[in-house]
């Protein structure tokens, strides 16, 4: 009965995300990635997005930031690194599935090898032993898989707490949660344990990530227009991630660069 309820919740998550996708995609024209300016993305909901951006800044300033500061003080860097490696290793199954779905056998093999080595030699993932052996980490998610399959990103959205995203990526994160085996694991003795673990995992991930992103967040807030800066970096970074960091064709890369003489004296 409990298992059925868990499945219901997961399905509900996916349904909510799907509705969001349908709603937002229907409301605007398709937004193909702009190779001339990878930083540009359609933002028809800018008013809403700016409000969410301001809300997130508030949460960061008054809650997450201070909490991360305390976490950083209380937890030495060595421990934070171990926690970080451990949490990252837990994502390996989801990354593996997405590697396969994107038809990337070599990357899928890397992920598989990393997970095996880190869980065993790396002691339950606490050490990134695979990295020392030269097998580097890469991240994947279902949003990227959808992009590889040709699905349009949809308009730029800023979600409360979650931050910048798009309907495609939002839907993707719902699917990732459904793929994640930890979503479905149960403990016979204690039916609530898996929920507590999920919450703990979420909180630790957020704190660890916030500490790691400290400098970037400071830099972002020092920009003349932080909202625009974040939107642009999200858009261009996402496209680079989807390409798996592969360089674009150089002859095309510089084709649409702007002219500097246009506004000369």
């Amino acid at each position: 009965m409990y298992r059925a309820k868990k499945r219901e919740i997961a399905i509900m998550n996916v349904r909510i995300a799907a509705t969001a996708v349908a709603f937002t995609l229907s409301a605007c024209a398709s937004t193909p990635p702009n190779s001339a300016d990878p930083g540009s993305i359609a933002d028809p909901y800018e008013g809403f997005n700016r409000q969410m951006f301001a809300f997130n800044n508030g949460v960061d300033k008054y809650a997450l930031g201070p909490a991360a500061g305390a976490y950083k003080t209380v937890t030495p860097e060595f421990a934070r690194d171990r926690i970080g490696d451990f949490l990252r290793n837990l994502r390996a199954p989801v990354i593996f599935v997405n590697d396969v779905l994107q038809a990337e056998p070599s990357r899928a093999a890397d992920t598989f090898v990393r997970f095996t080595i880190n869980t065993t030699v790396g002691i339950a993932g606490l050490w990134d032993a695979a990295d020392h052996m030269g097998v580097e980490h890469h991240s994947e998610d279902f949003g990227q898989t959808l992009a590889v399959w040709g699905v349009d990103s949809g308009p730029y959205l800023v979600m409360p707490i979650m931050g910048p995203t798009t309907p495609r990526d939002l839907f993707g994160s719902g699917v990732d949660r459904a793929i994640d085996p930890l979503t479905w694991t149960e403990f016979d003795g204690d039916p609530d344990l898996d929920d507590k673990i999920a919450v703990g995992r979420g909180v630790l991930s957020a704190l660890n990530a916030r500490v790691a992103l400290e400098d970037q967040i400071e830099q972002l807030n020092a920009q003349p227009e932080p909202y625009v800066a974040l939107r642009r970096i999200y858009s261009s970074q996402r496209q680079a991630e989807i390409r798996n960091g592969r360089p674009e064709d150089e002859s095309e890369l510089y084709q649409d660069l702007p002219d500097f003489d246009e506004f000369d004296e």
Binding site: P224, V228, A240, E248, L257, P258, F263
Partner: protein
């Protein structure tokens, strides 16, 4: 008649081909020499902070076309500002740009700039690919947009390659400045104030 025309056409075609190649080698040499000089100027232990800034600024003024970069950063508004507003903005922008570059490039002081290759968009417009080696082993892929203006080479934009994401700093700056100006109805003063605030913050973070 026909026999004379063909070699003439061939010669002009060859000359056109030769020009970009010459531009390639020259722009590469230009970036190699000057980028290294700029980084070296930040590494001179005999200079105190102010002297270092002065030397760095002098090199940067020669190396980059500050006015062109400033005008580019505000796009169409360059024509909408009054003459005094434009002059004030250019002055403030220059100070800001110098402060940004000094803070950012300081991390690479003393490092070698290695030119890899270059791409010519036209006779007067090239992009030079360089690598700046860092202490922690991570090499920075830095690309310089070099224009030939009035017989002089000058850098007008710099791009950093972050995990396959090529970010042109001038373009990013322009996107934000235009957003700010659109939001404030083209107010030059709002932009000038904003830039001055950012410069002050940067100067307080400068290495002493």
């Amino acid at each position: 008649m026909k026999r004379l025309v063909t070699p003439a056409i061939a010669l002009t075609a060859l000359a056109a081909l030769a020009l970009p190649a010459a531009a390639d080698a020259k722009t590469e040499a230009y970036v190699q020499k000057n980028a290294s000089e700029v980084l070296a100027s930040l590494n001179d232990p005999s200079l105190n902070a102010d002297e270092r800034t002065q030397k760095f600024n002098a090199y940067m003024d020669e190396f980059t076309d500050m006015k062109a970069v400033a005008n580019f950063a505000i796009g169409k508004y360059a024509r909408r500002f009054t003459e005094t507003e434009l002059a004030e903005y250019q002055k403030v922008f220059r100070e800001y740009a110098l402060a940004v570059y000094e803070n950012e490039l300081d991390a690479y002081r003393g490092e070698a700039v290695v030119v890899k290759d270059s791409v010519d968009r036209s006779d007067t417009d090239s992009i030079v690919n360089t690598v700046i080696r860092r202490d922690d082993g991570k090499d920075m892929d830095v690309r310089w947009r070099v224009l030939l203006r009035n017989g002089q080479y000058q850098v007008v934009d710099v791009a950093l390659n972050l995990d396959g994401n090529l970010i042109w700093l001038g373009i990013e700056q322009r996107a934000q400045f235009l957003a700010l100006l659109d939001r404030t109805n083209g107010s030059a003063q709002a932009l000038i104030d904003k830039i001055e605030g950012m410069t002050q913050k940067l100067e307080s973070e400068k290495r002493t």
